[in-house]
């Protein structure tokens, strides 16, 4: 083979790089893009055998119908309440546990951490049946609490692990100085450690919120009335008037409504999210 000049090599490298990057971008974004475009198409265009990459006569009617023809706003509210309270409780429990593991004198720390982490690897399906029976006994099927409790349990491991790492990296001197000044452990925790950890708490909270917001199997099993469906369940069980008529336009509108805020949040906090996830395993 003839030796290529450095310049030719450079050009080939640039072409390969550009083409690959464009390919990766299209691959990541296209399904989302296609959902947006489809949600803006009127039915006639949606079921046209020659789909266009851009709506010819864009309309918001699907966005109106999704709230008129079904209780989608109720589903959104359910998801906000369940994920919001889950995040709050998980952050409180997780930061207490994380701080104790990171900083306090305690025998059996590793054991406690492994015990907590092990839960994140439980296949949810393995506890589904028995958990259903327990919740039914406690009359918690079709209640917010009946979903929040399981969500706290499944999000706690990752939250505790990330926060534990986070607290460990805080400068110890500040806490020691506070102790010398006669500040109690509890006050140090609330007035110094937690405020200092605000950025970490926000990013971890976001991860918790996303996993609660996205959860499907528990929500689908423990919420059995449409009025209690969370967003993923409502979208998974999206039905038209007849079995054979799937209202794809509305479905895509619903999908866009609930993913746009999520995507925006993720883009804003991208650096923290990547850091948090690399620190705490790969729970997706």
């Amino acid at each position: 083979m003839r030796k290529m000049s450095v310049k030719t090599k450079r050009i080939i490298y640039n072409i390969v790089l550009t083409v690959s990057v464009i390919f990766v971008l299209i691959w990541c974004i296209f399904p989302f893009y296609w959902a947006i475009i489809s949600s803006l198409k009127p039915n006639k265009e949606l079921f046209d055998p020659h789909p266009t990459l851009w709506p010819k006569s864009p309309t918001f009617s699907n966005y109106v119908k999704v709230f008129q023809e079904r209780p989608f706003h109720v589903n959104i509210w359910n998801s906000i309440v369940v994920s919001g309270i889950t995040t709050l409780v998980t952050l409180i429990f997780g930061s207490f546990a994380g701080y104790a593991i990171a900083r306090l004198h305690m025998k059996g720390k590793s054991f406690v951490m492994i015990l907590i982490l092990a839960v994140s690897m439980f296949p949810q399906i393995s506890i589904l049946g028995s958990l259903f029976v327990i919740l039914r006994k406690m009359k918690l099927i079709n209640t917010y609490l009946g979903l929040i409790l399981p969500y706290v349990a499944i999000t706690l491991p990752l939250t505790t692990w990330i926060l534990q790492n986070f607290f460990r990296d805080l400068p110890r001197e500040i806490e020691e100085a506070a102790a010398i000044d006669g500040c109690s452990r509890t006050r140090t925790l609330f007035q110094i450690v937690f405020p200092m950890s605000a950025p970490g708490l926000v990013a971890t909270g976001l991860l918790t919120f996303i996993s609660a917001w996205n959860e499907f199997l528990f929500a689908f099993t423990f919420m059995q009335k449409p009025d209690y469906y969370t967003v993923p369940v409502a979208i998974a069980l999206f039905a038209g008037r007849t079995q054979y008529e799937q209202p794809w336009g509305q479905l895509m509108a619903a999908a866009v409504i609930v993913t746009v805020p999520l995507v925006v949040l993720v883009l804003i906090f991208q650096n923290r999210i990547i850091a948090g996830l690399s620190a705490g395993g790969v729970k997706g």
């Binding site: 789909p51 104790a100 296949p123 259903f132 998974a236 609930v258 997706g284």
Partner: protein
Amino acid sequence: MKAKTRETLIAWGMVLPALLVISIIAFLPLFQTFYNSFFDASLRPDIEKRFVGFKNYADLFQDPRFLDALKNTIFFTIISVLFETILGLLIAVLVNQPFKLRGAVRAAMLIPWAIPTAISSQMWKWMFEPSTGIITKLLEALHMIKPGVPILGSPQTAMWAIIAVDVWKTTPFMALLILAGLQLIPEELYEAARIDGANVWQRFSKITIPLIQSTIGVALIFRTLDALRVFDVVFIMTRGSVNTETLAVYNRVLLMDRAFTGAWFGYGSALSVIIFALISVFAVIYIRSLKIKLE
């Protein structure tokens, strides 16, 4: 009281709420699942619970639907994790190169991960629709599928479609994790190799791969245990029809649909235990790899 004892007490007090929640919501049901797997039981109150020993387990291995689900799950896991790892590595190397808008591309890679699986499954289902779906159109134009044969309705293609969705969702994320590992490799190593005349492939195989081996290993194990419990994407795309049913999907049918009509709850619990055991193998390796030493 000694200060140290006091601190230990406080510490246990602080981990107690977390331990309590996971004990009641995770460990207690897990224990009950084990227990129930030795019984003939139902969710119907009029059917009595009866001890049957290991009968449920023995029956499972005679159950063709279970064996198919096991086969499908293993197929799904191997193929999807393989694609995710190879593509993830390639993309990680790609976005580690300096180019304009690199930050924007990395951010875009988080989008598939952020979209709830239930929702992205529906987005893809729409693209796989017969006659109107954009992917159906594309594959028909490329003569890769016969016109009129629904992708999600035929056993030859349905599982591949499901794998495609999983690969789409997880690969970019895998790439970002591997990228974190790549960024730790000092640039000088590559410089030195270049001076010694090593070509691109040599630099990749002799420097990059050995140094990110452990990152890839950890990600690979975690993805495997995640893939073994797959439920959402399969359930939403096909409900487990056309030979796509995985263990988790079959398990839910037993526990939640059949257990209300007959004595299937114990049988379903036995399947839950098998899934748990299968995943535990990988979970133990994973937790070990994190090297937790906190004392």
